[in-house]
């Protein structure tokens, strides 16, 4: 259930960008979702389908890139991706002197849209395909 509110956020950023571009329909959406946030992909897709109905983003394909956290070992210098549940030690040398950063971004990276038909004064009639 945690994903409802961020999916509303996704939709409003997408619709705003689509409107600014005078797009008729949103075809694909590229998202980054940080792995350390605890947000999961499937519920985002589920809520997106629900919330986008009747909007220009209905039916858009969601491409979700999961941004892992960054582990850094202060003993051997290795950097490595991390996902929850975190492991307490470096996967390379076993040292517990590690630090974890990042993995918390939630961004709409880009959208692909179908442009509005270019007839003068046209206010984007819903497309009857």
């Amino acid at each position: 259930m945690h994903e409802l509110a961020i999916t509303q956020g996704i939709l409003s950023v997408v619709l705003e960008a689509a409107e600014a571009a005078r797009a008729r329909r949103v075809l694909t959406i590229d998202l980054t979702v940080g792995a350390l946030t605890g947000y999961a992909e499937d519920p985002i897709r589920f809520y997106f389908d629900l919330l986008s109905r009747g909007t220009p983003a209905e039916g858009a394909i969601l491409r979700i890139r999961r941004e892992p956290g960054q582990g850094h070992c202060q003993t051997c210098g290795a950097t490595f991706p991390v996902e929850p549940p975190l492991s307490p030690a470096c996967p390379f040398c076993g040292s517990v002197e590690i630090r974890i950063h990042g993995g918390t971004h939630c961004l709409v990276e880009r959208i692909e849209v179908e442009d509005e038909d270019e007839h003068p004064g046209g206010e984007g009639h819903p497309s009857g395909q």
């Binding site: 945690h2 571009a21 350390l36 946030t37 605890g38 492991s87 307490p88 517990v96 974890i100 692909e112």
Partner: protein
Amino acid sequence: MRTNIPVVKAILQANEAVASENRTAFDAAGLLAVNLMSSPGAGKTSLILATVERLPDTLKVGVIEGDIASTLDAERIAARNIPVVQINTGGACHLDAPMIRSALPHLPLTALDLLFIENVGNLVCPAEFDLGAHLNIVIASVPEGHDKPYKYPGMFQKADGVVLNKADLLEILDFDLEAFRHGLRILRPDAPLFILSCRTGDGLETWIDWLMGQYRLRRERHGR
């Protein structure tokens, strides 16, 4: 025609904009706003009550209570004659910045020195929704187990301070304090940890001293 449009915008940008308005309002009022986050039942309300009891009388405290539906916690606060505003999130599992903004007109902001915001009990969403508070405090409690920083790293990354409550149960339960400390250290080596018990009062002094220190820093910065 298909067109690619680079967007690169934070999904919660609308919330973040309101959060900075809230922060401005807090600064203008010269108060310190503290957002308390935890899983359900870790002791947010208990910590507010135990803290207020031990603060100097001259310090004026207000509370915003976030709750999915009930008003029970707000009643516990109001029973101590503390100004309190209840926000029912109507099912949402976190507070957001617009909810806080709409609560502010119901509080005597300029008369307050300290504002506690009790978030909804949840270790996921509250971390993502900035409220505009100056301090984000995460409360964990001994019965939840020591693995919380490992399972909910996003929440602990946001912590400016961490309280481990129900320390009176450390003797009884098999909570591995070193593992908990380590989980916190790998995420936020700079965040202080306060091990305390709202029940016995043990450890509360250190937390309150730190909080008062933070309050004085705020006041110096916003000279009032």
